[in-house]
Chain length 456, copies 2
Amino acid sequence: MIIKSLATKENPFNSTQEIREWIARRNREVKVKVEQIPFSEMKMWHSDEDGSFHHDSGKFFSIVGIDVKTDYGTNNHWRQPIINQPEVGYLGILTKVIDGVLYCLMQAKIEPGNVNCVQISPTLQATKSNYSRVHAGKSPNYLEYFVNAKPENIILDQLQSEQGARFLRKRNRNIIIKVDEDVPVLEDFRWMTLGQIKELMHEDNIVNMDTRTVLSGLKISDYITPIDGLRGMSEFGRDLILSSTTNHSYISTREHLSWLTGLKAKYDLWVSPCSVLDMPGWKKTDREIVREDGKYFKIIGVNVTISNREVASWCQPLVQPMQDGLCAFIIKKINGVYHFLVQAKLECGNFDVMELAPTVQCLTGRVEDVNRPEFYDYVMNARPEQILIDALQSEEGGRFYHEQNRNLMVEADEGFPLDLPPQYTWMTLRQIYKFLRFNNYLNIQARSLISALNYK
Amino acid sequence: MIIKSLATKENPFNSTQEIREWIARRNREVKVKVEQIPFSEMKMWHSDEDGSFHHDSGKFFSIVGIDVKTDYGTNNHWRQPIINQPEVGYLGILTKVIDGVLYCLMQAKIEPGNVNCVQISPTLQATKSNYSRVHAGKSPNYLEYFVNAKPENIILDQLQSEQGARFLRKRNRNIIIKVDEDVPVLEDFRWMTLGQIKELMHEDNIVNMDTRTVLSGLKISDYITPIDGLRGMSEFGRDLILSSTTNHSYISTREHLSWLTGLKAKYDLWVSPCSVLDMPGWKKTDREIVREDGKYFKIIGVNVTISNREVASWCQPLVQPMQDGLCAFIIKKINGVYHFLVQAKLECGNFDVMELAPTVQCLTGRVEDVNRPEFYDYVMNARPEQILIDALQSEEGGRFYHEQNRNLMVEADEGFPLDLPPQYTWMTLRQIYKFLRFNNYLNIQARSLISALNYK
């Protein structure tokens, strides 16, 4: 079922080109105005005495200050603003088998901060505030299918993290369900195959972050029959299946667990609340919370107006990065099996100190001539034939303003060394999926890249 | 190797009876005086303005107040004191194969709060303060073996939680290493087989909590050769091996993950610091922090004097429970395979909202005629032939004063219902070990019972 969905890039409902055009058209039709305004003019939002921002309902999210202490790295104590949203949201994809092929019901969703405002989104994308109807509006579309799904119809159901440098311990429920009954296809929704979605992930800013994280958990090899499934698949697709199923790994999972336990035990992370008005290196004006050196990111207040079939308007804070980022995996065949070069990375908002991250994950603006991140030069100097994935991807457009990361996957040369620095390891896809089933092991940047792996 | 260690209850170094006598003798020889003193007289400890207690070094642990909000259960908002020790400690067992049998180097360790002060402890039991030498003393015995262990000599290496109702997000590094070289056996240390330790776990207060948690992670079936290993094993032992290895489970792991994700998403847990002096229902005097209704537990200050080969004396706060507790697993053969009745339990100090707990976990003093915990009556009324484990076990004697839990394992009758309330599920041992490999899935009470399973 899933294998057919992967292989099928043209579907009777919408060809991939039609989906592209649909998203482009929706982007033309929808007028999204994001206008920076003074914080004091953000309707329905208020600032506490400590400079933090909260919605008047007490729900949604807030911008707070945190004091971070760690014995990891060279910067061992800092303060920064962070998004606090201590609730688990739903990111759900509804699927259905039609004529033997699995289709996902995807949405053309507007998010004001996205580079393309309209991107392909999961069927359901709802904060707890949304689905518990804090906004007193109607219940989100298709919510009832997820709430009432029978255990046997739940394909995947995981708690996964968001960006650890920007969100304080934020997690979402990533869920894929299968329905048997007929489902009405509402306006702004379309049926797509996995193959189509994965193909579009190789283009810039078309598939949103939430789609990428939900699909990252789908272990394709679980749904492929050993012989039939591989028929017609590319050599690279077969190699990915091998990496997903083999017991032969360069480093055992027992050693991975010990490696990660050792790092989590070695490095402490203490995060405590602090006043936004008392963050060295940062200043708060009525227009922004920004670093004095202009680095990293700033918080702005915006008024969003969306003119669509109807006009909606609201105010909110957004996080605006100062530069684009880079998320890159190096992969290498070791004894004939693809291994991913995984990094254990500590970020201040992490739920559990360290998560598994891509080989390189950095803000490009931070990259100076000295102290370039490990493997940065290697991925940036990759020859075209080494590059398997290269696309710009937006981060969550409901919280970030034009934040995009270059998603890069590079196949290492023959001579690439197998020995790695202490915070890096080699993992097969099978091993990555073992960790991915349990919450807070793979970070969102790693998951974004894993989801784009195309088995076609 | 491990199978021989399990089977061997008599060993050339120490028979089980000799170990019993050794522990009893050490308990007679060692004079431990735990004297309650006013908080103000605790040397090296001070109270902050908010009533919290801290060691003057800023290390070890502190007693702080927390404000707990949750939408789980009927009590949705409370304050309480809790032990805060935001550091990962080492709990390590050093093992060695001697004449084809695996031996563990165990320690007769004094802990002032234990019911028997001297109990069988891991080779190494060290807080980060210990091993980073905050106390300016010498390095803990055998630490260097653990620090320098090669990856291939690490049998097990996991981060695991302590009591979620008493510790704020406390975790320890549970580690078992194997050494090849000769190891000096220091005074207070003895070589023991797994079979001996497990046998002693079926007696009251001889094997300490730290030993139990470390050994719980050892998946016995991984070390047993399919045919030879089962020879001479009891029927119950074979049944445990079957439950550890079978793919046939009543409920799939996919469904377990979804069940747990759903519960973690449904129930929120917000924990924030509060003043110890501002906890409704609690009062603080110079002698104790205690509930006005006398329930649950209290914090006391003690002066500990240990007269051994030399005399040591220090002051510290201890947590004193108001009654004993009960930790009970119901197990049942479903389609010929043992399944454990597991509960998802929220406790305020949990690292990740909910952990998998025994079927029944409660303070016996809380049990009234009404609102008895689910399955409480069943386990308390079990007939003798249903009872597989029944022993009193101490919790950590360095933090708790005479806290002990009745560890009970009960085999369900034929007619026991398979359908369970929403927060309960059936798991094979294989499934339990899948979760146990990853951190913060099984709580310490569940692990204590799992460790006592005897495959002899």
